[in-house]
C-alpha cells in the first residue's frame, strides 16, 4: 500500500513536469547567425563569380571586383533581413492568419523590397556604372527590374520560417505522445506488479495468525522472513527489470516462507547457470509462477512435491523453467481452467515488456509433472563486473583496543 502511494506520487510528479521542448523551442542549425550569414555570403560569391565570367566573355569595361561586391552585398542584405525577421517576427509569421498575411505581410514584402534597393543604391552610389544618373531614376530602374524578385525572395523566407514552425510543433507533439505512451505502459506495469503482493501478503499473515497459538517461534520465523521479503521488494522501488540474482532472492524468500507452511511435503532445488545470474528479468515475475506451483499443484496433492527452478542462457535467450513434480495427475487441466490472477498477470507483463520477443507456457509433461517455461530475450546487467561492484566492507577487528 505504502509502495503504491509512493509510486503514484512519483508518477504524478513525472506527469506534471513540463517537457523541455515546450519551454525552449530548438533553433534549427541553419538559423545560427554565423551559419546563416555564411550561407548567404557563399550564394553572393557564387552569383558574383557567374556574372564576372559572363561579363568577361561579353568584354564589359567594368573592374572584375564589381559583380562580386554587388552580389555579395545584395545577398548579405537579405541574410541580415531574414535574421532580423527570424528574431523579431518568427512567432508572428508562424501564427499569422491569411488575413494578416494579406494585410500585413504583403505590404511589408513590398516595403522590404524597396528598402533593399534603396540601401543597395546608397551603398553603391559612386562605384556603379550608372552613377551619373539621379538617385530616383536609378531607383525606378532597379525597382522595375528587381522588385518582383525581391518580393518573391521575401515570401520564400516567409514560407521557410513558417515550415520550421510546423515542423517543430509536429516534433513536439510526437515527443509528447511517445512520452505519454511510455508513461502509460509504466503505469500499467506498476498496476500489474501491485496486484501480486497483497494476495500473498494476507495469506502469509493468516498463517502467522494461525501459528501464533500453536508455535510462537514458528510465527516469529515467518514474520521475519515476510519482513525480509517486504524489505527487498520495497528497496527495489520502481525498478522494472532486475538481475536474476535479485529476483531469485525474492523467490527463495518466498519459498522459505512456503516451506514453513507446507513443511517437509515440498523440497525445492535451484539450478542457475552462472552466466544467467546477471540477466535482467522483470521484477517480481517469477514469484507468481512459483506461487502457482504451490497453490494449484502441491497444496492440493497429498504426496511429496519437488519444485525445481532452472535458468540457462541459450544464444540470445534466457530460459527459465519452473518444474513442479508431484502434483495430482490431471489436476493440471483443472489448473488451466482456474489459472489465477497471478499467471494472467505474468503473461500481460511479459507482453508489455517484450512484445512478441518472449514466450511463456505451462504444460503437463507427464501426468503429475507440470513445467512452466519462460523464454525471454537475453539482456545483461551493465554494472561493472570486475572490481567490487557491490559494497563489501570488511573490518580488521571487531574488538576494540
Amino acid at each position: 500500500m505504502l509502495r503504491r502511494i509512493l509510486q503514484n506520487r512519483r508518477l504524478a510528479i513525472k506527469l506534471n513536469k513540463p517537457t523541455k521542448q515546450q519551454t525552449d523551442p530548438t533553433r534549427p542549425f541553419f538559423m545560427h547567425p554565423v551559419v546563416f550569414l555564411s550561407g548567404w555570403l557563399a550564394l553572393g560569391i557564387l552569383f558574383g563569380f557567374q556574372e564576372s565570367v559572363e561579363m568577361s566573355l561579353d568584354a564589359w569595361k567594368v573592374p572584375l571586383w564589381m559583380p562580386f561586391a554587388a552580389w555579395t552585398l545584395e545577398f548579405l542584405l537579405w541574410g541580415l533581413t531574414f535574421l532580423g525577421m527570424w528574431h523579431f517576427l518568427r512567432a508572428s509569421i508562424q501564427a499569422a492568419s491569411t488575413r494578416q498575411m494579406l494585410l500585413l505581410y504583403l505590404p511589408l514584402s513590398v516595403v522590404v523590397g524597396i528598402v533593399e534597393e534603396v540601401l543597395y543604391i546608397t551603398i553603391f552610389r559612386y562605384q556603379h556604372p550608372g552613377r551619373h544618373l539621379t538617385f530616383l531614376t536609378r531607383l525606378g530602374h532597379n525597382l522595375s527590374s528587381a522588385l518582383v524578385t525581391d518580393v518573391v525572395i521575401f515570401w520564400m523566407g516567409f514560407i521557410v520560417f513558417r515550415s520550421v514552425g510546423y515542423y517543430q510543433r509536429y516534433r513536439e507533439r510526437e515527443q509528447l505522445a511517445s512520452q505519454l505512451q511510455s508513461q502509460l505502459v509504466q503505469a500499467r506495469l506498476q498496476a500489474l506488479q501491485m496486484q501480486l503482493n497483497p494476495h500473498f501478503l494476507f495469506n502469509t499473515l493468516n498463517s502467522v495468525s494461525s501459528l501464533m497459538r500453536s508455535d510462537p517461534d514458528g510465527a516469529d520465523e515467518m514474520l521475519e522472513r515476510l519482513s525480509s521479503l517486504l524489505r527487498i521488494t520495497l528497496a527495489k522501488g520502481q525498478a522494472q527489470r532486475i538481475p536474476l540474482q535479485e529476483e531469485m532472492e525474492v523467490v527463495q524468500l518466498y519459498v522459505s516462507i512456503q516451506q514453513l507452511r507446507f513443511g517437509d511435503r515440498v523440497s525445492h532445488r535451484v539450478e542457475v547457470a552462472p552466466e544467467a545470474w546477471d540477466a535482467l528479468v522483470p521484477s517480481m515475475i517469477l514469484q507468481p509462477i512459483v506461487e502457482n506451483a504451490y497453490v494449484h499443484g502441491i497444496s492440493r496433492s497429498l504426496g511429496e512435491g519437488t519444485i525445481t527452478i532452472k535458468a540457462s542462457v541459450e544464444g540470445d535467450k534466457l530460459c527459465i523453467s519452473i518444474r513442479n513434480a508431484g502434483c495430482v495427475p490431471g489436476a493440471f487441466a483443472d489448473t488451466l481452467k482456474r489459472q489465477g490472477v497471478g499467471i494472467a498477470n505474468v503473461k500481460a507483463r511479459l507482453e508489455l515488456h517484450y512484445g512478441s520477443r518472449q514466450s511463456f507456457s505451462i504444460r503437463e509433461v507427464v501426468p503429475g509433472d507440470v513445467t512452466a517455461l519462460c523464454v525471454l530475450p537475453l539482456e545483461i546487467d551493465k554494472r561493472p563486473s570486475s572490481d567490487h561492484a557491490e559494497p563489501l566492507y570488511a573490518a580488521s577487528s571487531s574488538d576494540r583496543g
Binding site: 517461534d217 514474520l223 525480509s228 552462472p274 557491490e390 559494497p391 577487528s397
Partner: protein
C-alpha cells in the same frame, strides 16, 4: 559468569519482546532497561554491562549518540553493542563503530541467539588477550558486512566454509546457508588470512579448518578437497603446489 545485558528501546513492546526472549536464555542477566538515550547512558555507566541491545531511532538523541557519549567517558569499557532496528540503512555506520551485530526488526529468537553468541565470543577474546595483539602478523579482516535476502549480515569470517565463483558473483557458504554477492574472487582472496583460507581453484577458496581431506585420484591424477560437511571441490593443477607446500609445513 552470566552475560549482563542492558536493553535500550523507546517502545515498550520492543523491550518486552527482548525481555521475554532473554528470560529463556541461560547465562543471561538483564541488568537494566532504558527508554531513551539519556537513561541508557546513565544505566550503562552505572551497571557496566557486557552487552547493550540498542535501538537506533529514539526520541532526542539516537543510538549512535549513546555510543559516542559512552566512548567519551570510558572508551576502554564499552559494552558489546547489538543494534536492534527496523531501518537497514545504518548497517555500515554500525559496522564502523564496531558493533557486534545488527538485528533487523522483527528478528527471531535464533537470530538473537547468534548475536549474543558473537557478543560472548568477543568478551572472551577481550578477557583472554586484553588489548595485546601479535605485532608481527598482518591483520586480516575477521568480519564481513553485507546484505543478503533482505537481511544485514555481520558475518564472522571464521563462519565461512568455502567461497565459490559464479561469473560476476561469489557464493559464500556457511554451515547454515549460502549468500550470493556481486564480487570477485581476487578481491576476497586479499581480504582473507592465507593461513586459514586457501585458493584451490580459479573458482574456489576453502577454509582449511573445515577441510576433511585432500585426495588425489589414482587413475587420472585429479585432486579433490572434501569439506567436513561432505562437499567435494576440485583442485586445479595451478593451485596444487600450494597444497603440497601446506602439507609439507
Amino acid at each position: 559468569m552470566p552475560l549482563q545485558v542492558v536493553i535500550a528501546d523507546d517502545e515498550v513492546l520492543a523491550r518486552q519482546k527482548l525481555l521475554q526472549l532473554l528470560r529463556d536464555e541461560p547465562d543471561i542477566e538483564v541488568v537494566g532497561e532504558g527508554a531513551n538515550a539519556e537513561e541508557t547512558i546513565d544505566l550503562v555507566q552505572l551497571t557496566q554491562p557486557d552487552v547493550l541491545l540498542l535501538d537506533i531511532r529514539m526520541p532526542g538523541m539516537d543510538g549512535f549518540d549513546v555510543i559516542s557519549a559512552l566512548s567519551c567517558s570510558s572508551p576502554s569499557d564499552l559494552p558489546g553493542i547489538i543494534f536492534t532496528t527496523a531501518h537497514d540503512q545504518y548497517a555500515l555506520k554500525a559496522f564502523e563503530v564496531h558493533a557486534v551485530d545488527y538485528l533487523l526488526k522483527p528478528f527471531t529468537r535464533e537470530r538473537l541467539r547468534i548475536a549474543l553468541h558473537h557478543a560472548r565470543e568477543q568478551r572472551e577474546r577481550k578477557h583472554a588477550n586484553g588489548t595485546a595483539r601479535s605485532p608481527e602478523k598482518k591483520e586480516y579482516s575477521n568480519r564481513l558486512v553485507f546484505r543478503s535476502k533482505g537481511r544485514i549480515l555481520f558475518l564472522p569470517i571464521a563462519d565461512i566454509r568455502w567461497i565459490g565463483a559464479e561469473e560476476n558473483y561469489v557464493r559464500i557458504c556457511t554451515g547454515r546457508e549460502s549468500h550470493m554477492l556481486r564480487n570477485t574472487m581476487s578481491n576476497f582472496e586479499t581480504k582473507l588470512d592465507p593461513d586459514v583460507f586457501l585458493r584451490i581453484h580459479r573458482s574456489a577458496i576453502v577454509n582449511l579448518q573445515h577441510v576433511k581431506e585432500f585426495r588425489t585420484d589414482g587413475n587420472d591424477g585429479e585432486c579433490f578437497v572434501t569439506m567436513s560437511a561432505g562437499h567435494k571441490l576440485p583442485v586445479s593443477r595451478g593451485y596444487r603446489s600450494r597444497i603440497t607446500s601446506l602439507i609439507a609445513r
